[in-house]
Amino acid sequence: MLLASDVVVAQNVGFGIIAAVMVIFALRVVSSSNVVHAALSLVMVMAGAAALYVLLAAEFVAVTQVLVYIGAVMVLFLFGVMLTRAKLGKEGDLNNKNWGVGIPVAILLLGVMVYALGDGWGRTKIDATGGSVVSTTAISDLIFSPYILPFWGLSFVLLAAVIGAIVLARKD
């Protein structure tokens, strides 16, 4: 039974707006004929994802998303675009010759996933009003005690990536 008190109108409206913005700009990322426009559309998708994380009460991940993705990764992408393409305007040949094959593959995949999710999760509700915001203290406790080994591994991956990127990209 659907009670009026169960429907969290403000959160659902917010989710709808954010989801629509994310899907529209994600479609622009894969369909735009201008590389810089695609990169800026990706910024909107990332920002929408950060807003969704706030809606899911994961504020630390949201802030990290803004700092790392919108701040650092997008600057990297724009540098990549500028260093590999002198021309910043429209380009006609961004797609493969047989790019049309991707459409049925993506639609088939989406169909399978939507069926499986609808079958598996049905109308399971997230308790949107109860529960508290995930505290950064709890996350850091988790990272630095049970997940310390993956954390070390990740630090090593980042170090290797930094050194590898320098070695690959330097001129001589």
Partner: protein, 99 residues
């Protein structure tokens, strides 16, 4: 809120990313599509986190963000190297290893 709202949005973004990886020729655009896929996974992790009232998913999401940053760094360095050697980053022209 239904958990399926978030899962379906994640599925849609994932499929858009897969289409981008398949259809794009420019290597930088393919890397952008991979970012879309990684973001959709993060949305799923945090939705399940909220559903179960745990916080392990937040840690996984942070790890994914860090690995994605490393991946973009190395990927763009490789793209830069390919561009320097060939003056082009069209992926369908990289066929020297074809037997």
């Amino acid at each position: 809120m239904l958990v399926n709202q978030f899962l379906m949005l994640g599925a849609v973004l994932f499929c858009i990313g897969v289409y981008g990886v398949l259809a794009r020729k420019n290597a930088v655009m393919v890397l952008m599509s991979i970012e879309l896929i990684l973001n959709s996974v993060n949305i799923n992790l945090l939705a399940f986190d909220r559903l179960n009232g745990s916080i392990d998913g937040n840690v996984f999401a942070l790890f994914i963000i860090a690995v994605a940053a490393a991946e973009v760094g190395v990927g763009l360095a490789m793209v830069l190297l390919i561009y320097r050697n060939r003056k082009s980053i069209a992926l369908d022209e990289l066929s020297e290893m074809k037997g």
